[in-house]
Every structure is written in C-alpha cells, then in structure tokens.
Symmetry: C2
Subunit: 291 residues, 2 copies
C-alpha cells in the first residue's frame, strides 16, 4: 500500500520504519527535514511538504505533538488537504482534542477525504517493537482500509466507535493512570515512612484487588526515588489537559484528574517534566518528609 507518514518524532520515526519493513511504499515528511533521514536511508521517499507527501498516497498518517500541529499539517498551507485525493484515508495517530478531531474530519469530508483517529499507548518502546495499543474512532470501511498499515505498528488494535472515539478512549486511559499512579505513590510513601520493606508489601498486595500494571511495574521507581523513562510527566500532563477540556465540554467532574494535573505542573516547574510519570511519588515523598 502507498503510505504517507508525517511526523518523524520519537514515536513517528520507528512507526514509519515498521510500516516500511511490512512491505509498504512509504513517503515521509517532517517539519525539521533532517529527521526524515534515518527512515529515508531504509528506503522511504522524502517529501518537502505534507501536501507533497499526501499526493498518490492511499493512507496518510499524521503523528505530531498536539492539536495545533495536527491542524497545521492537515489543514494549513501546503497541508495534507491540498494533496490528498478523494477517497484517501487520513489516520491521525497523535493524541489531541476529540472535538478538534471531529472538526478536522468534517473539513476533510468536504473534499471527500476520509479520516480516522488512532492514538496509541505503549510509548517509544512499543513504537520500536511494533507492539503499540491503538485506539480507533471512525467508520468501519475506513478503519478496514487502514488496518494492514496499523497492524505493522500495533499488537492491540481496538475500533471503539465513531470519529473522536479513539481520542476519548485515550483520554480515559490517561485519567485512569493518573489516579492509579497517585494512589500507588500514597501507598508506597506510607510504607516507606513506616520503615517497612516496601518491595515485600508490593508482593503481598499485587495479586489482589490492589493489583495494577502500575503497582507491579512502577512502584520500584517510587521506592528508589529514581524515575527513568517510561513516559514523560510533561506528555502525560498534556494528555490530561485534553481529558480535562473534554470533561469541561461534556460537563463531567474529574476532581482527582484535576488534582494530578496540578501535581504534574509542580513537577514540571521544578525541572522534573522529562522524568517518568511515576515521579509523582516525589511530591508525596517530599510532602511527607521522606528522605
């Protein structure tokens, strides 16, 4: 299949490489052009603009940082919308606002260009290994058309609902992990201050109702007070903001998510924004005077 891939970041670069390895024809574009080079060396074509990349493509993937970036590469000057043929499917794999997603999709629809939203979880490791979880919103026939390409990048591909549903699912994912990280941080901190062997505590409780991926995989960071990546605090806060804005639009009250977003703001203001999200435990530890 002819695939355009726009956005050669930490995620997009290895994702495009996996599409290439799966045997598709790939054309890549990145605003900072030299980031196209590693994928071009492996056989991808390069395009000077999103518009040029989109020409002749059957599936056009965007994987950029935030809502304004997606709007720019799809709808802006020399954007995808100027190059994409009618019937093409645009697959936005960035994590952005669900309502902006629907607006972009409706503008593309005026030119008979299709769109699905397909944000991912699994981090840079998942991008490299092709084991991302992909959460999809869109029409069935468009999702089916993109599936061979998506399968090159992810191991769990879930079509959840109509356009925007992928982004809402990603927002729910980020809400759930926010509270879970914080709860584990509170529990670990109490154990540390009580002088327990907290690794033993985790082993004692992880098999029951307290069990979670975060407890089993990130409590050790909190015990050591060392937070290697993982998934950056600043990116989780960006995603949590998307979730909180969606909640405002829908009239949903999310007090613990809002609290965690504030905690992450504190972490960022003090230079911890590029640490793993488990660095939330820094706050509970500090507030509780745990060395």
């Amino acid at each position: 299949m002819k695939v355009a891939f726009i956005g050669m970041g930490t995620m997009g670069g290895p994702m495009a490489l996996n599409i290439l390895k799966a045997g598709h024809e790939v054309t890549v574009h990145n605003r900072t052009r030299e980031r196209e080079e590693p994928v071009a060396k492996k056989g991808a074509q390069r395009a000077a603009t999103p518009m040029d990349a989109a020409k002749n493509a059957e599936v056009i993937i965007t994987c950029v940082s935030d809502t304004p970036d997606v709007e720019s590469v799809i709808l802006g000057t020399d954007g995808v919308i100027e190059g994409a043929a009618a019937g093409t499917v645009v697959v936005d794999m960035s994590t952005i606002s669900p309502s902006a997603t629907r607006q972009i999709a409706s503008q593309l629809a005026e030119k008979n260009v299709k769109m699905i939203d397909a944000p991912v979880s699994g981090g840079s490791e998942g991008a490299i290994k092709g084991t991302l979880a992909i959460m999809i919103g869109g029409e069935v026939e468009d999702v089916e058309k993109a599936t061979p390409v998506l399968e090159a990048m992810g191991k769990s591909i879930s079509h959840v609902g109509p356009i925007g549903a992928g982004q809402i699912t990603k927002a729910i994912n980020q809400i759930v992990i926010a509270a879970t990280y914080w709860g584990v941080a509170e529990g670990i901190s109490l154990g540390l201050k009580a002088g327990l062997d907290v690794e033993k505590v985790v082993q004692a409780i992880e098999g029951g109702a307290a069990g979670s991926w975060i407890l089993s995989n990130r409590s050790n960071n909190m015990i050591k007070n060392d937070y290697p990546l993982g998934f950056r605090v600043r990116l989780h806060r960006k995603d949590l903001n998307i979730a909180l804005n969606l909640a405002r639009e829908l009239g949903v009250m999310l007090p613990v998510s809002a609290f965690v977003e504030q905690a992450e703001t504190s972490l960022m203001s003090r230079g911890y924004g590029d640490e793993d999200v488990s660095a939330m435990a820094r706050l509970v530890r500090e507030q509780s005077n745990i060395a």
Copy 2:
C-alpha cells in the same frame, strides 16, 4: 493443632470452618453466642468467653470488627490474656490500627504470650474458599508456629515485617484501591457521558498501563450503575480511616485517600454504605449528571 477462634462473623465463621476441615481441634467463641452454632455443628467446641476459648489453645485467632473489639476480646474482662498460657501465639486477623496492635502485643508480652497481626483481603468469598491473602507482621518463630493454621485459610501468606507490619500493609492496600476505584470511576463516567460503548473502551485499555484488577473486575458495575457485593463501602471507609490515622501519626500526607474517605461518607449518609466499593462511581455519575 489446638486452635481457639474468636469472632464468628461473615469472615470468621467460614475461616474457622476451613481450619476445622484441615484437621485442627477448634474451640470457638462469639459475643452473640448463637453465631457459634453453625461451626459447632461441624465439630467445633464452644466457649463461653474469650478467656475460656484461649485455655489449652496453642494458637488463638481473633477476627472481629474494629480496634476496640480486639482490645476487648484480648485485654478485657474474661479476655484472651486471662486464659492464654505462656508461649501461646495470638493471631489477630481483624483490620485495626497498627499502633494499637503494637500496644496489645506489648501487654501480651508481659505474660509471655506472643502475638502476630495477620489481616486479610479477599472478602467473604475468599474466606469461604480458603483463598484469602494474609498480610503478616510478627516474629519469624511465631509466624512459623501459626503457619499450618494460616494455610487452611489463605492461598497467599506474606510475612512482611515486625508486629504491626501486616496492618500497615493492609492500610497500604486500602489506600491503593481507594485511588484506583476513583480513577476508574472518573474514566468510566467520561466515556458514558461521551456516549461511547464503555465496555469496548475497557477492553481497549485494560491490557496496558491503565490495567488493574479493579478496571477488569469492577468497571462493569460502574457502567450498569449497580453495585452488588463485593466489599462494602462502610468497611472500606473504616479501613481507610485506620490508614489516615496511621498517616497522621507518621506525618504522611494522603490527599486522595482523604478525598475518597469523604466520598464514602457521602455514600453512607445516603444509604449506600452496604453496596460494593465500586459504588464510588455513583458520585462521579451524579456530579456529572449521567442518568
């Protein structure tokens, strides 16, 4: 082994029965005496007071509601302390204050009676099936002495640290589940108000970093807005209060646990105290005007 079992409640009754089935000699006592009858019919002896039950026992188990109840049955008039021989091990399987636990242990120690704390998780179902998780604090030799009896009740038996460590571990368990339940409730509520098929959302995210026992096993209650037991709100609030009091003693700040304790107070004041803890989602749903 000769075992005394004090407290024939929802948990204690089936736990005593499992000890009996494992071939031990069991003497039971309960303040409301008729609750001794089901276990007596299966072959247990009955005792008129905790003191009488404790006489001749090698291991004395207490499984009652709260800190004052444990103090009463162990240290009160006709209490365990008046009947227990030197060298006997008292195993308190109630969920109570860790500092009260240490005080009770030190009073028993004056009579050369040993004590370990061994609170459980796994609920009434785990009590009946003998699959409880048991979290233990105490001296190695006392834990070893009680182990044959503990093995009749639990499948995961974790010796975490010195006296009180079992109770602290249980407190940490309840802290972690508090935030996780609430986070799942926030996420589910956002999905419901957005009109998504929330079961699909759960399937899409439960395999990744958002995955937890609670997401996989209790989100369905939240989707249906129906909260069969499970584990009662009022009991979780009691346990969370123990955790918050411990945190006060130690100087640990637990803002989300405190928030959830308030939420549970609201549920109890409105007649939902005997529903499952997942009923927390009632609040997020109501606050967000979700039918």
